[in-house]
């Protein structure tokens, strides 16, 4: 499972950062910063899905 994040769509709702601080950090202006590159570790798959399902701007995507 791979995760990607589109900075153009992100409006800084910070839902991802609250749900999965292992996957997302937040910069000084409140925009998300993806912490992992490419493969999501198996133990974080559920959390990655949560980020996708709660981002109001559809800025996060998972691919196989």
């Amino acid at each position: 499972m791979k995760i990607s994040y589109n900075r153009e769509l992100c409006q800084g709702h910070n839902r991802c950062y609250m749900l999965a601080p292992e996957l997302f950090d937040v910069d000084d202006e409140g925009y998300a910063v993806l912490k992992v590159e490419g493969e999501v570790p198996a133990e974080l798959h559920d959390k990655a899905q949560l980020c996708v399902d709660n981002c109001p701007e559809y800025a996060i995507e998972l691919t196989d």
């Binding site: 409006q11 800084g12 202006e29 409140g30 399902d53 109001p56």
Partner: protein
Amino acid sequence: MSDTKAPVEDWATDFDHTHPDYAAGAPAIWDDLRKRCPLAHSERFGGMWVPTRADDIKAIADNDFGNYTSHEVVVNEYANNDEMMPPPIGGAPPITSDPPFHADARRLLLAPFAPKQINKLEPFTRQYCHDLLDVALAKAKDNGGVFDAAIDYAQHIPVRVIAEMLGLPPEDGDRFRTFIHHIIENPIERELEEEETIEYYLDAQIERHRANPKPEGEGDLIDHLLSVEIFGEPLSPEHVRGTVVLLLIAGIDTTWSSIGSSIWHLAQHPADLERFRNEPDVRIFAIEEFLRLYAPVTMARRVAKDHELRGQQLKQGDWMLLPFPAGNRDPEAFEDADQFIIDRQKNRHGAFGLGIHRCLGSNLARMELAVALEVFTERVDDFELLDPATVRFSTGQIRGPRELPLKVHFDA
């Protein structure tokens, strides 16, 4: 006031969010409209459109084609001709600003409202919630267990915190609420005397800040606005004042409403109360579910150019209401949309708006809501509504309980 309003014949063609019937029954009105007329209309306020589907609301908020302007975001009946703050700036940047100015005005405020800054205010907020309950519960003890969670608790929290952030005297809280009442709850009541206006009050406060500059890094938000630059220049006095007006009013009725609605829910759903109180891990989901189902904020736009939407012809200057709370209850976007599901796992709600105007205070509002509910459920052991008929919801664009009498059972 509102009781003189003409009755609404049909919400699909005569919509009026300031009507008392709306305060009582808005969710049922949205559900009905979504099914039979997803873009309702009204001749009131000079002509207004009302979408209720989540996808329409998101598309309008995203405004990819520049069909709408944020120049005015509260529906009113006055002609707007503020020459000091013409489009795309508007009277209260960034909420009244359009691109491209909006992004520059907004960027000035992002850092102080980012999560890590806001978290520093948590201990202060928590202590204040305890202080409020010390007083409220003592009052209830002398009063047969009765106190008002909206008046004695919820309404004070955002006022105290934003006064702290802006560097305004905390004892002026009642005045802030009066200003807000004039601006949001009753924008069409009457013209005000100069000394009654928020502008008059804030000019004196801003002047006080200007005369007492603080060392780098020690200032409050007003000091911040006086020190930052836009396009290489200090902000104009009108910009500073407009933004302070915005920061003062944007967070008060809104957060008050959210805290109040959540307590209203918990008072009626003991199983949810139990889980909120005993399962800290569920709170992160519960907070978002409160925000979704009881979203307090409906915004407005003006149509910027004639265009067609859902088969209707929209004219420049028409009002476009953006009822985010209606979108949050759309069954196309949420499973069991009308149910409160305390650990809802899929929750892309738009309570804080969508797109470029996403609530700047969302991290602050969430922190306040979470802390207010944690402290409340910790301190108030056993409570219920005194009487469902005595709960009063607001009319207008900010929806929440303005009176919420509770009965506390102390000997439990």
